[in-house]
Symmetry: C2
Subunit: 262 residues, 2 copies
DNA sequence: TTCCTTCAATCTGTCTGACAGCCTGACTGC
DNA sequence: GCAGTCAGGCTGTCAGACAGATTGAAGGAA
């Protein structure tokens, strides 16, 4: 991203050599005060055992304790805020919004909003869902399989009661992610999904998207609980096919709001 | 992430209903001044045609033009900085680091640095690489296939010359991403890879990782250019198997630096 | 007693002004 | 032509101030 790709012509070896040599250099970031503040905050959070939702000390307190100006504290918190690690409420305080353990770091993804973004994010989701489903089917513990089944039954109960089943569906899929023994899959999928929702602002789980696929979740649940990876992958693909049909229908009707996401 | 998952017990339907109802609500962001500034900046960048690497107007100028305090400008730019959209150089200015087109947005990922993070990011990469390889084999245009082959030949030329082939390998894989007709795949993979590199600071492309797989790239290139998706997927899996072996070897020798990434 | 109103303390969002250190381009002397 | 020097511009950081939002507690009404 920050590096220019050399031309494909095999002729000039000099510039390629120079580029390769430069490949050994990493931009040494000038330690700025904000970073020190964030490190200190991460330590504080770990040592104080703060959990998601807890309130951080006020900016004034932090500034005094760390012996820096409030502006510096604010800029540091701004970084975390834009990474989704904290949320700030005017007049109230800063609240932990994610698990900030020292030794966790963050990669921002940039997605361009174009006409087919919905399909694109769905494609990425499919690749990840297939992998995570296979993982879960192969590696889930008995407790995790029981959890998946419990979530599935809860989902069906909610659905048959006629209530909105967004949260229940979310919980079901998340149980699968958790069973995959690789939390990164779940994180990436959830973030991609959140991008999906930001593009198409209508809440997932209404009749618009996914309703047709709900009847198929039972087979997926069974396959995972049986440890049958191939059948599970087959089922998740069928489910995603249904969702993709819905997405294409939405694209065809041109419901996609042209406005940029805020 | 900001929502509590209801307990799996199927007993209480009330809380689940409340959560489902809440699923229809989106957090309405209290328009804060920073956001307005960022919107204005995005417009400015679009209208002025600023490209990656260009310098933004100074904070003072921006503050005066937008009639806000410099603090506000700084906090807004801090957001973009932490999202990797701009880089700031002390005493020099702020520089565009990514394509900030109005209508692009950003999803931050959190990765915990643990012993097996390398394997986890590699697993995610595998899921995405398989998908993107299949896409590329099926949908690449003739020009794109030619580009892939050119990059491959360049890669081999660089390799046989004994120089470092990091950039060339990067370019080869990127040509595949570009041929997939879904730029999102490439973006996600590159970001995951950059996380990989931040964990294991040694540059990819030295003898440590990937050298064994280089000989296998030819078959991958052929399969994609032939449009044989299944063979291409098979080949990329073999390549990733080799890389995974290297990763496991690194983990076994405990080379992973214990320090947190800065 | 219980509920509602009011209020004061607290906190964030924003602006102003200031200063040190870094960067850059132009100038100067050789 | 070239290298060193310097002034101006820019960012990083701090201190102080004020408006608006929030919150919890005190106090009054039913």
């Amino acid at each position: 991203m920050e590096k220019q790709i050399p031309p494909a012509s095999t002729g000039s070896g000099r510039s390629a050599q120079a580029d390769d040599a430069a490949g050994h250099l990493r931009p040494l970031e000038s330690r700025t005060r904000d970073m020190d503040v964030l490190d200190a905050l991460a330590d504080m959070i770990a040592k104080a055992g703060l959990k998601v939702g807890d309130r951080l000390p006020s900016e004034l307190v932090l500034a005094q304790r760390l012996a820096v100006g409030r502006s510096t504290i604010r800029e540091a918190l701004k970084s975390w805020q834009s990474l989704g690690l904290v949320t700030k409420r005017t007049g109230s305080g800063s609240y932990l919004a994610a698990d900030v353990s020292p030794g966790s770091f963050h990669i921002p993804l940039t997605i361009k909003l174009e006409g087919e973004s919905l399909l694109r994010t769905h494609q990425v989701r499919r690749a990840l869902e297939v992998a995570v489903t296979r993982e879960a089917a192969c590696n889930a513990t008995d407790a995790q399989r029981a959890e998946i089944r419990a979530r599935y039954e809860h989902l069906m109960a909610v659905f048959h009661s006629g209530e909105h089943w967004y949260a229940a569906d979310h919980a079901f899929h998340r149980a699968i992610y958790d069973a995959s023994s690789n939390p990164l899959f779940g994180e990436v999928i959830q973030q991609v999904q959140s991008a999906f929702h930001r593009i198409y602002t209508e809440p997932f789980g209404t009749t618009a998207i996914g309703a047709a696929s709900l009847a198929l979740h039972g087979a997926l649940c069974d396959a995972i609980c049986d440890g049958d990876a191939e059948r599970a992958v087959e089922q998740i693909n069928i489910i995603l096919d249904e969702t993709e049909k819905d997405v294409r229908r939405i694209l065809a009707t041109g419901v996609l709001d042209a406005g940029r996401p805020k």
